[in-house]
Amino acid sequence: MAISSKSSTDEFIKGLWRDNPVFVQVLGMCPVLAVSNTALNALAMGLATAFVLIMSNIVVSSLRSFIPKQVRIATYILIIATFVTVVDYVIQAVSLDLYKALGAFISLIVVNCLILGRAEAFASKNTVGRSIMDGLGMGIGFAFALFCLGAVREILGAGSLFDVQLFHDSFQDWVVMILPSGGFFTLAAWLLLFNWLKQRKERKAKQDESAALAIRGEVA
């Protein structure tokens, strides 16, 4: 029981940080670049994607012994498209302004390779519980990454965060940051940071290992 609980937590954590879908796996770049021009749009798209990912993981995992291998991709796409349609209606009901801001990218969640990828690589081979944890981790990790991009782009491009002005009127907006090219700049900066952190961690682990070996050698 303890082992199962630990591995479920691990499934959750890996999507958040170690295997983050955007900063590590570099998946689903279309909405990441297109809808991250403001923090609110980015967060809404991230949460919509997370909902679809979790729900499709649950259904795919529940039906994994019912769906023959030959028709699995068509069936997964059908399931994903259904939840995207549900999200589309829900966003329209919650806020028309948000629906207009996200535009066609809500429908395009269907072809986000992250969702089909998790259905095929994880949910179709694991229990419902583990699939929920995987969907939660990956979904929140995706939403977090989108928010990171959206926040930086909105702060620099419009001088605000969630429409709250942060700077004095004399602040000159970097309009380029909310244009498509700003998406690439910001993504590149975040990838650089993540890779630097990863390398630093690996280097530190290596140094610790060498130090431990040296101490053992001296003791012997």
Binding site: Q70, L78, I79, A81, T82, V86, A93, L179
Partner: protein, 228 residues
């Protein structure tokens, strides 16, 4: 591959199993979509009606109630009852004394990225457009979307002349876009530097719509008086 290996491979699923999975999942997904549609549709309709109502009061600030009219084949306006939607609609705004204060009209046209949809308020007393609100726009964020936020640009529509010729057949002066800072007549729209195409598109959309609607409204003002 040996006979033993072939025998040990799992048998492929029957056609029945594949149909069962596809049809079963299809029925489940269909039911889910229908349920979501039924639950959210009334809320979405209400949101859209509220957004339209807000826009009408935004472009006709002195109005406190509104009624929807439809232009019929005889070029007269008929009050539209209930929630029925149709083409050729205008929204008449009335003040607290039930006096007609103006009409709100929807217009659409091509912008830089995609179609721009807007609503504008027409005051027959001032013979002018007295406010606009963009309802639908995918113009470039930070550039083209200034048509919704640039205060200098929006000032154009606090009183944009759409007076008619003496015979009430067409606008005395068409609405024309001019470069930023060169506006000298009340029927000109002062453009936005950095959003030239979008601001010119707004002027063109308004000109096209006003040329069509303003003569028809002025010739049938009696249709709106007192709400009948």
């Amino acid at each position: 591959m040996s006979q033993a290996e072939l025998a040990s491979r799992p048998a492929p699923p029957s056609t029945w199993h594949m149909y069962r999975a596809m049809v079963g999942v299809g029925v489940f997904c269909g039911l889910l979509i229908v349920t979501a549609f039924q639950v959210t549709q009334p809320i979405i309709e209400r949101n859209k009606a509220e957004a339209l109502q807000e826009a009408i009061f935004h472009v006709l600030p002195s109005a406190s109630t509104s009624r929807t009219y439809r232009l019929d084949e005889s070029n007269g306006f008929k009050l539209l009852e209930g929630k029925a939607r149709s083409e050729q609609l205008v929204y008449a705004g009335y003040d607290d004394q039930e006096e007609l204060v103006g009409l709100a009209v929807e217009a659409k046209g091509m912008g830089y990225q995609d179609v721009i949809g807007l609503i504008y308020g027409y005051s027959f007393a001032e013979e002018a457009i007295v406010g606009i609100q963009v309802l639908e726009s995918k113009e470039t964020p930070g550039l083209g979307d200034k048509i919704e936020t640039d205060q200098d640009f929006l000032q154009n529509f606090e009183r944009l002349d759409v007076s008619l010729r003496d015979d009430l057949s067409e606008l005395a002066n068409p609405i024309v876009p001019v470069k930023h800072g060169e506006k000298s007549n009340p029927w000109e729209v002062d453009g936005i530097t950095g959003a030239t195409i979008s601001s010119v598109a707004i002027a063109k959309i308004l000109n096209q719509s006003a040329q069509y609607w303003v003569p028809r409204i002025r010739n049938n003002l009696g249709n709106f008086q007192g709400g009948e």
